[in-house]
Symmetry: C2
Subunit: 209 residues, 2 copies
């Protein structure tokens, strides 16, 4: 099995942190997205969509999409459970992952991919040419800031994003916020609940994966 | 338990079809998104995010986000399994759901919400004012057409989106494509694999839910 990976990219990092929490070791192959290596024939022969992260199983078949890869490992290595332990916690973790992806990850990607010259005609990941839409950069920044305020409020009195256990929702939020800060959207210092939670999850060894 | 629902909206429909396949009956409450009822105080008291679909459990707590609601019912009513039966099929179904959402649902929503006057300052679902970005309408149409071509190719020789069983990936694709056609992005007649598959899934009684 191989994980096609890029050290600096946020979605591959979600998989690496998830694997570290599970104690799973997988061979990693670096692919340079910024340089467009994911759109060259060698990689497209593995994943014709040209997206990362991708897992290639020993039979040559692939699994792509971050959440699909993580859920694959949740099935093969159930402990520690990172997608919840009962119907309600599983649903709440899935809901928060979707909210973090939609309200933090996606608008941050909008900022990066619609303003950075490296992503000209690549405003959407993958093989199709999609021109940049500059208005999305400003809109994205505003949306991430609104999410920060909402998350800070949600985290009041809570150690983790959902319930009393660290979960895939924490991984998603940590990677999303680190990504947003990399893109220049800092967490306001006044949002102390985010800062406390972030110190908590970032001090786990898995955060270095 | 109550499902806050809107008959004509694509994401609530995904939940209704899912419930119909499971044979689960849930009380439904209609909320008019086009008229902004989801952003009025009565509904915000139930779900402060103002999004649909939302399930309210008997203890008053809520589950929102389509995939979280469906996964909740997959846990409480496992048969028939709609999210796969083993690690690989579960991962492939999740991957295809993400691809359909990202490459068909999201760009179709971009078209509708960035061109229809009913969504002025509501280009993103929820309570935040987000101005329309007209460029997203054209980009969205192009992206859905590209997805149609890719899905048609994928469906060659297959009865369902993943493997040999009807799954949540079929529900997602059916609702996404019906939504795209409603918005004016018709499936080209030349794409016979989509048409055959669509007739297959649309003839199930659940498609009328």
């Amino acid at each position: 099995m191989k994980l096609f990976d890029m050290t600096g990219a946020p979605n591959p990092r979600r998989v690496r942190v998830f694997l570290a929490e599970k104690g799973i070791d997988v061979e990693k192959v670096q692919i340079d997205i910024m340089g467009g290596e994911n759109l060259q024939s060698n990689y497209l022969a593995i994943n014709p969509r040209g997206v990362l992260p991708t897992v290639q199983l020993d039979d040559g078949s692939i699994i792509d999409e971050t959440s699909a890869i993580c859920r694959y490992f949740e099935e093969t290595n159930p402990e520690p459970a990172l997608y919840g332990q009962d119907a309600v916690s599983k649903a709440q973790i899935e809901s928060w992952i979707r909210q973090i992806e939609g309200d933090a990850f996606a608008p941050t990607a909008d900022v990066l991919r619609n303003s950075n010259p490296a992503f000209e005609n690549r405003s959407i990941p993958g093989t199709d040419n999609t021109p940049q839409v500059p208005a999305l950069a400003d809109r994205g920044t505003d949306r991430v800031k609104a999410f920060y305020a909402r998350l800070d409020n949600h985290l009041a009195g809570s150690d983790y994003v959902v319930g009393e256990n660290y979960s895939a929702a924490d991984i998603t939020a940590m990677c999303a916020i680190d990504f947003a800060e990399y893109v220049g959207i800092a967490v306001p210092k006044a949002l102390g609940n985010i800062t406390k939670w972030r110190n908590r999850v970032s001090s786990r060894p898995s955060a270095q994966a």
